[in-house]
Symmetry: C2
Subunit: 332 residues, 2 copies
DNA sequence: TTGAAAGCGCTAACAT
DNA sequence: ATGTTAGCGCTTTCAA
């Protein structure tokens, strides 16, 4: 069906070894004649070398594994795009997998990736305990962590400047005159970036003696998030006009949907701002003040660090921060 | 480094063949004792079978290739999510690649996928000429086409009901009283789905004697699209209040950004509606009437058809339509 | 400058 | 119920 290196060798009247050299660009001492002859045959036969076979011996699959918490999240899309920018230059391919926000599922797919012999892995980790990933290290597979910390830090970690960006946003909120702040988040203990985003607000609130209320919901999608908690807070505090900060784009959207349903307007009835500005935040209501994490850049950086490790010169396991930027609009 | 089947065999005091049977679930006639012994050793050694090696003999890599026109598009994300829903059940992995909206690049990545020996490919094709993909057929790799037609049809094609959904939307526009319709699109000749979306409007416009103007732009992103064409039309037709239909989500967003910049409001100054409702359309302005293609469903269906072919019983090469749905809001 | 041969880790007849 | 053996398609010494 697909021609093999043997077919090429025979029709070109050379040995497999020579064809292999040709394929790998070892032209140093190969007559131009053979080179051209092989080239012709390769083209004529439409020969595409089988990487499975070559990987067996060369120990390079040219596959980079990417595991994200949730495939459907736009963060993932942009992250993957950034990674792809780099892998494409290297002529490699990416194997993507979603962990479905579940540690066991994440473990399963990591094993699949190891089975596929990926040259390296980029992981948005479900667990903050890096020992969960010891088996990857044991398999000798280079890995770079993105978005969230997993400690003790065993791998280069590329993430946004969650804490400082949150502080900046919190200062902005307070400067706008709000006396109450609500942080609407998924459980903050579980994920380091959420915690940093919350802490940024909590710390700044404390500095200014402004109460910061944490409202945690489990629902991950806009539909599942329990936004009514904000409504409950509002009825419990009549006359107050709080600023709501959401720790990710899905929750931002959930909150906005809910406000729309309730006939609540921003900034008239409450202020709102949050993480993850995928452009649409500019179009919603009067424009929502939001934080852009630049996931594509995070992906690129992560891939660059990964290649350093794949090529045998791993960087020390530190946290690399990509500065998040704040888009000031009119929702505060 | 990673243990091999040989290591397992030796420590369990059995032959590689027995271990292989164990790994592939051929327990039919294997003593429970050996089974358990092997299980123990596998766990103890943290053995993960090397799929490159197994693929070499078994001709199954458990890899499904996915090639989308543009990785960063949300359509791609949702499509990939849908595909992953199905591949995950099969224990397979997906190899994703973006064609960067370029035919040559698409060809390059298709070759990479073939080199990786993928069991099948799902392609959102750059070319409407299916002969461009003959080399994939020649390599004997099952393929399913999504989103766009490529003719003559050689593969099952899964797409949304572009033409009928567009007609429905066009009827809605006309029923709302608009006397002018502008279709804002990327070049329609190049991609079948764009063409169908345009034709839906053009045909309905003709039925009702309503002029439908096609404005084509090359820019693909919201930033690059030349929205000023709409402005030019507006100045050329003072007093008119057209309905603008955009053929994809990026152009919808581009148009909305532009309107925002111009201080134009919908539906006051013009009506607007378009393809690709990724939830945010509900939040923009008064809510934008838009078409949801359900790309995740398209991905699932495509993967199901692909597996039929991979498993030796390919379905006939027909076009399968996933009904697009219309979200009526307040922008018309 | 080129070839021969061994082997990467696994699977699948064919034996036993 | 288990083992032996011969590859799968490449890469890579080592020779020539």
């Amino acid at each position: 069906m697909r021609p093999t290196i043997d077919d090429v060798a025979k029709t070109a009247n050379v040995s497999k070894a020579t064809v292999s050299r040709y394929l790998n660009g070892h032209f140093e001492r190969m007559s131009a004649a053979t080179r051209d002859r092989i080239a012709a045959v390769v083209a004529q036969l439409g020969f595409v070398p089988n990487r499975q076979a070559s990987a067996l011996k060369s120990r390079r699959t040219h596959l980079i594994g990417v595991v994200v918490a949730d495939l459907a999240n736009i963060y993932s899309t942009l992250l993957i795009t950034g990674i792809n920018d780099v892998t494409k230059e290297a002529g490699d391919q990416i194997l993507v997998a979603g962990a479905g926000n579940d540690l066991a599922e994440e473990k399963r797919v990591l094993h699949l990736l190891i089975g596929q012999g990926v040259d390296g892995i980029i992981l948005q980790p479900m667990s903050q305990d890096s020992h969960q990933y010891d088996f990857v290290r044991l398999a000798g597979i280079p890995m770079v962590i993105v978005d969230r910390d997993s400690l003790p830090r065993r791998h280069v970690t590329v993430a946004s400047s969650d804490y400082s960006a949150s502080r900046t946003l919190a200062e902005t909120v307070i400067r706008a005159g709000y006396k109450d702040i609500i942080v609407f988040a998924n459980p903050v203990q579980l994920v380091s970036s959420r915690m940093l985003r919350y802490r940024g607000f909590a710390d700044v609130g404390q500095d200014h003696h402004i109460p910061v209320t944490l409202l945690e919901t489990h629902g991950d999608s806009a539909a599942e998030a329990d936004v009514s908690m904000i409504g409950a807070w509002l009825t419990a505090h009549p006359g107050h006009r709080p600023a709501v900060f959401t720790t990710n784009g899905r929750l931002l959207m959930a909150a906005l949907f809910w406000m729309q349903d309730q006939g609540l307007q921003t900034p008239r009835d409450l202020g709102i701002c949050g993480y993850d500005d995928w452009d649409w935040a500019r179009l919603a209501g009067p424009g929502i003040t939001s934080v852009n994490q630049h996931p594509q850049q995070i992906g690129q950086k992560a891939a660059e660090f990964l290649y350093q490790a794949v090529n045998g010169t791993p960087a020390p396991a530190t946290r690399i921060e990509i500065p998040a930027t704040l888009d000031l609009r009119h929702s505060l």
